[in-house]
Structures are given as C-alpha cells and as structure tokens.
Amino acid sequence: MRKRSQRLWFIGAAGVLMAGAVTLGVIGLSGAVAFFQSPSDIAAKGATSFKQNVRVGGLIEVGSQSHGENGKLLTFRITDCKHTVPVVFDGIPPDMVVEGKGVVAEGKFDADGTLVASRVLAKHDENYMPKEAYDSLKRAAGEEGTMTCGDGAAT
C-alpha cells in the first residue's frame, strides 16, 4: 500500500470514528443533562412544566423529613427560605443529609409536583455546602443573604 493511500485510509477511519463520536456525544448531551433550579424558580414556573431531569438545591426544611407509611421512602422538603419543593427518595441518603443543612436532589417531577429524586447529594464534610444549595439561597435572598432560614443553623 502506498504512502498516500495509507494516509487516506487513516484519515477516513478517523473521520468515521469522529462522526460517530460526535453523534453519540450530541445524543448523550441532549438526554443526560440536568439543569439546576432553585425552589423559587420552580415555584415561578410551576413544577409540572419541567419534563427533563432537574437539580434542586437548598436547605432541608427543619421538621420536614419523614419516612412515609411503610418506612421505605424518605421524604423531605428543600427550601430556599422563600419557597419549598417536596422531594421523595427511595433509598438511604448520604450521611450528611440532615435537616437545616444544604442538599442537592436530582430527578424528575411527578404529576403532583413532587420531585422523585434519583440522587441526593450532600456536602462531603463540615466546611462546605453544595454549590447549588448555596446558589439557591443567594438567589432567593439577594447578595446579602444568610445561609440559614432563621429556624435552623446551616454552615
């Protein structure tokens, strides 16, 4: 095989692969992306208007955690001190999911406007709160917002 055709073959193979990768990437990006929303955003637009995955950040409202009737599910409300979003999660949450502390839940809204979370994230240690939780509080309260809702301490 000649140099020229060797190079052509190489470029052809790389081109086909790139085209495949770009196609996959675009399909993947359109299906797997979750946009962040604060509880106030959701209240403004209506929970049922979100068809795709969303990420909701904020504090877990104090006194909102419960385990439902049969104890299999965990339910709680995420608040940005102005509005709240009800969340239901089938599973055991990470250790740092505590009332009054920052949390991020990712999932889809059901017909009643409850977020059915597929993932619940908390901070990894005592020093930080998840970025989205912080952003929600900041958006709701403006630049001088505090990181608590007055009824529970948050770090």
Partner: protein, 665 residues
C-alpha cells in the same frame, strides 16, 4: 524546630533542581545526575519532617492543627501528612524528584538522559515554586491550638490513605514521560531507540495510575455507603482522561519502537498525558469543584495551576511544532496489520478521552460563561450525568475489545482478515453463547449482552493467542513464553474481566430498603437477614451505632455488623457497611437512618453487587500486566552474560511466533 528544617530542605531542593535543569539542558551531565539525586534526597527529608510533625502532633504547625487530632490512629496521622492540599503538593514534588533520581541512577548515559533530567528539573522547579510560595505546608501558628481539627472521617480508611501516593506515582510519572518527549524533541531524535527507552516510564506511570484509580473506586464502593464505585464525578474523570491517553501511549510506543512508525503521534500523546494530569490537578485543586478532593477552595491557586499548565503545554507544543517537520514517517503498512490495529486502538482511546473531556468540562465552561454574564443563569447551571458517559463510552470500549484479539494475532505490515477470523471462530462462539446465557439469566438488556459478549471474546481470544504462540511446545513452552507476552495477555484479560464485571454489576445489581425493628427479618436473593438491634460502641476517635444482623444463606448463619459512625471532632458521620463476599458477588448491608415516627425502627439498605470483584480484580490485572511488561524491559536492558544466552533464543522465537496467523507470503 523540625518543620523549619523541612522548610529549609525544600529551598535546598529547589536550588538543586534549578542546577539540575541548567546543567542537564546545557552540558553533558554527570553534575546534573548528582544534583537530581540530591533534589530527591532533600525533598524526601523535607517530607519526613512533615510526617514527623504529624506523628508528634505538633499543633504549632498550621497544617497539623488543621488536619490532625490527638485521637487518631497512627496510620491516619501519617496519611494526614498528604491528606490535604499543601501536604499533597509536597508529595507531588517528592515523587517528581524521585522519578528524576531514578532516571539519574538507572538510565544509560547520553544526551537523551541529560536533557530529560534537565526538563524534569524545570518541572520540579515549577512545582517547588508553587509549593513554597502559594501553598506552603511549613507555616507555623503563633497561637497553637490545644488540639487539631482532625482529618475528614471519610478519609480515615486504609484504601484512601494509599490512594494519593499511587495516584501521584501515576500522574507525576507522566512528568518524566513528558521530559523524555521534550528531550527527544530538543535532540531531534524521536526514533526507535527513543521509544525503547521511553516505554518503561510510560508503562510504570500508567500502571501506578491504574492502581491509584482502582483504590479510589474501592474506597467509594465501601465507604460512601451506597455501593457505587464510579460516579462520573469530575474528579474521577480528571484521573480517567490521562489514563486513557497513557493507555494509547503505551500502545503507540510499541509501533514506534518496533517499526519506527507513528513517531510524531507518540510524542504528542506523551505531552498530552502530562498536560491532562495537570488539568486534572487543576480541576481537583482549584475549587471549581466541590468534593472531598477540594481541600482548599482557593481560586488563586487554580489560576496559578492553569498558568503552569499553559506554560508546560505551550512550550512542549512549540518544541513539537519546531521539530515535527524533521520527524520521519515509519515504513509503510497495510490497514489490516498489527500497525493498523494499534492505530485503531489509539483512535478509540483518544476519542474516548475527548468524550470524557467534553462531558467533564462543558458544565464548568457554561458556569464560567454564566458568571461572566455571557449566557443566562438558567442555561449556565447544568450537570452531565452517567447516561451521557455510558452512551458514549460503551461503544468505544466495545470496539476496542472487539479488535483486541485480532490485534494480538495479526502480524506486522500486512495481515489477512479471513484466516484470522476463521482461526478465532471458537472464541466467537464461546462469546456469543456466554452473552445469550447472561441475558437469559439477567434479563434481556442489550447493554448486558453487549458487555459480556465483548469481554468473553477478548478473554478467550487472548487465551487462544497464547496457545498459538506456545505452538507445538505444549505446556512447557506455554509457561516459558516471554514476560512481555504474558504482561500483554494478562493486561488484556484484565480488561475483559473488568468490562464483564462492570456491565454485569451495573445491569444486575439489586437493592432494597427494609425498615426493621429488633427481631424482624428481611429476605432478599435467597438470603435471610435477622435484625437483632443496635448497640453503641466506642472507637478510637468515634462513637458507633452498630447493628447486629444474622445473615442466613444455604443453612449457614453468620453475624454482620454494619455501623453508623459519628466523629465528634469534625461533627460528621460515616457509614461502615458490612460486606459478605460470595463467589458470584457481594451482599452489601448498610445501616441507614432511624424512622422518625416509630421508636426503634431502623432502615437497612441491602444490596447485591454481582461480579463486583471482577471490576477491581480486572483493574488489578491491567496494572499487573503493565508492571510485567516493564519488568521484561528492565531485564532485557541490562542483561548479564548468563541472561543474554538464556533469553536470546526465547526472544527470537517470540518474533517468529509473532509472525502470526494469516500472514501473507
């Protein structure tokens, strides 16, 4: 006093590294060699002073006060020295200078070694400047506290104590590969000899990186309490990108070494691997991410890391542009040949790395654009999750494995597909049967069948290739196959095992939550779990709520004790799961929270993770295979007289068997 000594030693190391780089780049270097060893020794002693400060709990050292505590087991007092940003940067410097010293001691003398030591010296100088002036671990507190703040409890774990050293031996090992590439470009000699001498470094660094990543995954699996081992978290992707590129590099180096081909591509990969390591460090350390790795959320440090990445990458690419016209193209080859197969391998691996890069960086770029008010905040804050990575990478890995046995069996220059396929027919049949079997057992998921198909095909195909190489010599010849062949085969089989394990575990894992009060029991997957209640247990630096669970399976009963630990020092809790290993997978029991409205009812999370050990074992075999290839190279490079006569015939017959099936006349 001792930490001041460490500080001084770090400055000495900086000076020695500066001398090393100057002498290595300008003269022929006995002096550069000595200075490289001195740099490593100064750095090692400096690290030692920091470790001593951590073990002795010298809380007047700011870093010790912030990350250690008197009630901490010794292992974690030591590991605490690198379980934080500043200490880990000192570890980075130590490993970087150690690679320089290794090269100084063991590489054959010549211009390549001297220039590589020079470039490595420059990288070491850069690292020390960052360490000493931006993130110094040697700072004192004027008013030392009575006790320290403690290490993040999640990190108080054996696997994660070893995770940073291994990961850094991989990441920073890429620095020497980079130095070799730069040295080769400076000398204008990117040839077969260059590839032969670079490959051991690439193999070593890549194998260490494999182990480092695997340790992190194992830790996530049992410490985070939800049984996942890979999250597609940006910090994980940060280590996966250089891994993919380095995997491509160890393969393209073969083509450059054996055939003299792909030289410019190989150099490019060598530069890219280290740049991605730096990018990974930037992502993890700059505070653009919030995670257990983001010790210090300090954008200034991130900016400086980014500048360093720009300088190193820019300089190397400029060198590359300058020398690229002089790089020789290798001899011609047919698309269907071992060279062709290795080109495909490189395409798939580097495109995979690019796909991971896109998925990792897109949310950060959008966020940055949003903060700069260039796009609306709604569009700026998004995340890209597992489905993207699964969808894009699964086909890449599948193709990679489909070609693997063909690549191993194909001869150089020109092969023929027909005879190869015919010869591999048994493996294909086994793979198809296995895939059908797996789908029948585990539900008819396409993903599952696909993964098992390519994994089994790879393992059996590689096995068939080994048998062919042994030829008529039978078992005796089989075990005497060269170490390089064994290394390749073990790494490739490890890849097959990993893919089977990962797809089966992902497709067939089951988990359920059971609210139980003492005396009640739950049943799952043929196991019965009787909850006997919880007790409070005191640990060295934590208080644990421990559940007693009697697990019964096949008439045998044993006690499982998952725990919830609470660390008063850091006001944090961790989940310690109980894992019962079986041949087919793990039974994974985690103690969850207590029910709010009913007293003494605890939620247990019970999961079955089939073939999870294949995931970690496969990764281990990949690393083992890499180290075996490395060992083979080291042995061949410095043969004693006796060894020369012993290994020669083996090597030459390996070349003969390497001619392969389907070779054209």
């Amino acid at each position: 006093m001792i930490i001041e000594l460490g500080h001084l030693l770090a400055f000495l190391a900086l000076g020695a590294a500066a001398g090393q780089s100057f002498l290595g780049l300008t003269r022929n270097g006995e002096a550069a060699r000595r200075l490289a060893v001195a740099t490593a020794m100064f750095t090692a002693l400096s690290m030692l002073t920091l470790i001593i400060s951590f073990v002795r709990l010298d809380f007047s050292v700011a870093l010790v006060a912030a990350h250690s505590h008197s009630q901490k087991p010794l292992l974690y007092k030591i590991a605490g020295a690198w379980g934080n940003h500043e200490g880990s940067m000192l570890l980075w410097c130590l490993i970087m200078s150690a690679y320089g010293a290794l090269a100084a001691l063991f590489m054959r003398e010549g211009k390549l070694r001297d220039r590589a030591l020079g470039v490595q010296g420059l990288l070491t100088v850069g690292s020390f400047l960052y360490l000493l002036f931006v993130s110094s671990p040697f700072m004192r507190l004027i008013d030392p506290p009575f006790d320290g703040a403690g290490l993040n409890p999640l990190l108080q774990d054996p696997a994660v104590a070893l995770h940073p050293p291994f990961l850094y031996m991989g990441y920073v090992g890429m620095s020497f590969v980079f130095s070799m590439a730069a040295a080769g470009l400076i000398n204008g000699e990117i040839d077969r000899e260059w590839a032969r001498r670079t490959r051991p470094w690439a193999l070593g660094a890549w194998s260490f990186l494999t182990i480092g990543i695997a340790l992190g995954a194992i830790w996530a699996y049992y410490e985070l309490g939800w049984g996942g081992w890979w999250f597609w978290d940006p910090v994980e992707n940060a280590s996966f990108m250089p891994w993919l590129v380095a995997a491509a590099l160890v393969h393209s180096l073969i083509v450059t070494e054996k055939r003299g081909g792909m030289a410019s591509w190989t150099v490019f990969l060598a530069v890219l691997a280290f740049c991605l390591s730096l990018l990974g460090t930037f992502l993890v350390r700059s505070g653009v991410l919030t995670s257990v790795h983001a010790f210090a959320v300090d954008p200034a440090r991130g900016t400086i890391l980014l500048i360093g990445l720009g300088i190193a990458g820019g300089a190397a690419l400029a060198l590359f542009a300058w020398r690229a016209p002089t790089l020789k193209a290798g001899p011609e080859f047919d698309p269907v040949s071992r060279e062709g197969a290795l080109v495909l391998n490189n395409l798939f691996l580097s495109v995979s790395s690019a796909l991971v890069l896109v998925g990792t960086v897109t949310p950060m770029v959008l966020q940055w654009l949003g903060e700069a008010k260039m796009i609306s905040p709604e569009a700026a804050s998004m995340s890209i999750g597992e489905p993207y990575f699964q969808l894009t990478l699964a086909p890449m890995v599948a193709f990679l494995l489909l070609f693997m046995p063909l690549a191993q069996a194909a001869p150089w220059r020109k092969a023929e597909v027909g005879p190869l396929m015919k010869w591999l027919l048994p493996s294909a049949v086994v793979a198809i049967l296995a895939a059908i079997g797996a789908m029948a057992l585990g539900g008819w998921g396409v993903f599952l069948g696909y993964g098992v198909l390519v994994g089994v095909w790879a393992i059996f195909g590689v096995g068939q290739d080994l048998v062919r190489r042994a030829g008529a010599g039978g078992f005796k010849r089989f075990i005497k196959l060269p170490l390089t062949v064994w290394g390749m085969a073990i790494a490739h089989m490890g890849m097959g095992l990993f893919v089977i394990g990962a797809t089966v575990e992902t497709a067939a894992r089951t988990e359920q939550t059971f609210p139980l009060s003492p005396g009640q029991s739950a049943e799952m997957s043929g196991w019965k779990f009787e909850f006997q209640g919880v007790t409070l247990v005191d640990g060295p630096n934590y208080v644990a709520t421990r559940a007693d669970i009697l697990a019964t399976h096949d008439g045998r009963t044993e006690l499982l004790q998952p725990e919830q630990r609470s660390y008063p020092v850091s006001e944090m809790g961790t989940t310690e799961v109980a894992i019962r290993k079986t041949l087919g997978g793990d039974m994974y029991v985690a103690l969850g929270d207590q029910l709010r409205d009913q007293a003494n009812v605890w939620r247990l999370r019970i999961a079955h993770h089939p073939l999870i050990d294949w995931v970690f074992g496969g990764a281990g075999l990949i690393a083992l295979g890499g180290f075996m290839s490395l060992a083979a190279r080291l042995r061949r490079r410095a043969p004693t007289n006796a060894e020369t006569t012993a290994t020669e015939p083996v090597a030459s017959s390996a070349d003969k068997t390497g001619a392969g099936v389907g070779a054209s006349a």
